[in-house]
């Protein structure tokens, strides 16, 4: 019987993947990034304390011989926040890269996805935003000809949320609504919580704050933005110059399931990929760490990226 996938096709795919990963390692090593090898397991309780909104059912749990519940790493950034940032002395930027597999439960069982990512821990947020986003587009360009880069700023949403004075539970519900871009539920939420102006208009217009940066700026003009929201928009304006002509959409409602993000956030999508090929953003260290430390990074989902690929590749 003829195999569903020919061995030669399988080998070609593996070669293509290896070529891309080698090229990525070469580029980031040349830029001074050091290979970080994350632990395979994390403590479930600790991970959930850092990432309250991550769906617990999506995590692959195991128990150790003391009966403690561990999870197969669902991401790498949490380990960087938890284990590396507290040790950083605040001197030279800490520049790391990883090439590893992250795990989660899906309908089809346990899925392991190969992720290549970089993390920079530094104190100068503006310059490292530029450098990391520029590196992200450079790596994407190595792997694909066609993608849309989406940029948002978690600072904008955090400023919007802080004016609402919601309980943790209600804030969690609002974040869930925004994650789904669920305009209908957002309207109901605003009505039920009797949210007054100007927060009401900001929330009701939130999903319109996407498109070209000029469109976003124009749509936001009528919303009486606070200085923190303006700062968030300014950060996006600054980043715009580093986009190297990439097809970019700005979306101020872009919200990650991970709560550690606190600045510029971004995604990239390809025409043949059902989910993001790249995710990243600026994140804050843990509450007990030094607040002046800020970090930024991204990860590329290699298998998702390879669903598309470069047109000139054999």
């Amino acid at each position: 019987m003829k195999p569903v996938i020919e061995l030669s096709d399988q080998l070609n795919y593996l070669k293509r993947k290896q070529r891309l990963l080698n090229r990525y390692s070469e580029i980031v090593s040349h830029e001074g990034y050091v290979l970080y090898e994350p632990d395979d397991f994390e403590t479930y309780e600790r991970f959930m304390r850092i990432n309250e909104r991550v769906e617990p059912a999506s995590m692959v749990k195991v128990t150790d011989n003391h009966g403690d519940v561990l999870i197969l790493r669902p991401d790498v950034t949490t380990q960087v926040i938890d284990r590396l940032i507290p040790k950083w002395d605040g001197g030279e930027p800490l520049k790391l890269y990883y090439d590893t597999t992250v795990y989660k439960h899906t309908d089809g069982g346990i899925a392991g996805n190969r992720h290549f990512g970089v993390e920079t821990i530094a104190s100068n947020r503006e310059s490292s935003d530029d450098i990391i986003i520029s590196l992200a587009t450079r790596l994407l360009n190595e792997g694909t000809d066609d993608y849309v880069f989406v940029l948002g700023n978690q600072r904008f949403l955090n400023a919007l949320f802080s004016d609402l004075n919601l309980s943790q539970e209600k804030l969690g519900r609002l974040k869930e609504i925004i994650t789904y871009k669920n305009d209908y539920e957002l309207r109901r939420f605003v009505e039920n919580e009797s949210i007054g102006e100007p927060s009401r208009s900001r929330l009701l217009k939130l999903f319109e704050l996407e498109g070209d940066l000029k469109d976003v700026e124009q749509a936001s003009q009528a919303l009486n933005l606070t200085s923190a929201m303006q700062t968030a928009l300014n950060e996006l304006r600054r980043v715009k110059d580093t986009m190297n002509g990439a097809n970019t959409i700005y979306d101020l409602s872009l919200l990650s399931e991970y709560d550690y993000y606190e600045g510029v956030v971004f995604r990239a999508y390809g025409p043949e990929s059902p989910r993001a090929i790249l995710k990243g953003g600026r994140y804050a260290p843990l509450k007990e760490s030094d607040a002046s430390i800020s970090a930024i990074g991204f990860s590329i989902d290699i298998e998702t990226l390879l669903l598309g690929g470069k047109s000139n590749e054999s």
């Binding site: 769906e55 849309v148 989406v150 789904y180 871009k181 669920n182 305009d183 209908y184 539920e185 959409i249 995604r267 999508y269 390809g270 025409p271 043949e272 990929s273 059902p274 989910r275 993001a276």
Partner: protein
């Protein structure tokens, strides 16, 4: 499938018929017959293709990016919690998620979990977990009303439109849980890649709503 067209997954059955009605009102998919055995239709004039699939499969096709957008009931979204965008309430397929059983049935039996028969175990578990009420669910794929009648459950959790089937079987609504209606969903990546086409369709639908 033509990757350059906007691909819409519609559920077979009444929700699909209502969806086709809404689309034809805005000039899309005018020649499509939901009753046909054909599963994929093209509307080249509007650069749209439509695929008819089972209601639950709409979520799968959209989440996997085979379809760019789809129409699905909120009941299935609450149960499956897919990683998609929920862009618009379409205003049809309106009903409620309810707990139903014999009149006077307690929802907090003492000393044991409440026994719930349902097609939606995830929705039932999430609802009663919020109320701190332990439950034991039995999955039934249809005729859920039979649960209390044959004694395998105390109550059922199901979508209720008129309550006619409940009444015919001596049951009634004990508690309303959630509003349900048809939603327009989109694959997260396709929403970005085919943003202009998706937004144009939504604008057509909203314009028609205001007429």
């Amino acid at each position: 499938m033509n990757p350059n067209m906007l691909t819409i997954a519609l559920p077979k059955g009444r929700l699909g018929k209502d969806a086709i009605k809404r689309l034809t009102q805005v000039g899309i998919a005018k020649d499509i017959k939901e009753s046909s055995r054909k599963l994929i239709f093209e509307d080249p004039k509007n650069n749209v293709q439509i695929m008819f699939v089972k209601a639950l499969d709409v979520i799968t096709y959209v989440e996997k990016g085979v379809a760019d957008i789809g129409v699905v009931g909120r009941d299935n979204l609450l149960e499956e919690r897919p990683d998609v965008y929920i862009l618009k309430d379409l205003g049809f397929g309106v009903c409620k998620f309810s707990v139903a059983g014999y009149e006077g049935q307690s929802l907090t039996p003492s000393g044991r979990p409440l026994r719930v028969a349902t097609k939606y175990p995830g929705v039932a578990r999430a609802y009663f977990a919020k109320k701190k009420q332990p439950i034991e669910t039995t999955y039934l794929s249809g005729s859920v009303e039979l649960g209390p009648l044959v004694g395998i459950s105390d109550v059922i959790v199901d979508i209720v439109e008129t309550g006619g089937t409940l009444k015919a079987n001596g049951l009634s609504v004990l508690e309303d849980m959630h509003d349900v209606s048809a939603k327009l969903i989109a694959n997260r990546a396709k929403y970005r890649i085919k943003n202009a086409a998706i937004k144009t369709l939504i604008a057509y639908l909203e314009k028609e709503e205001t007429l």
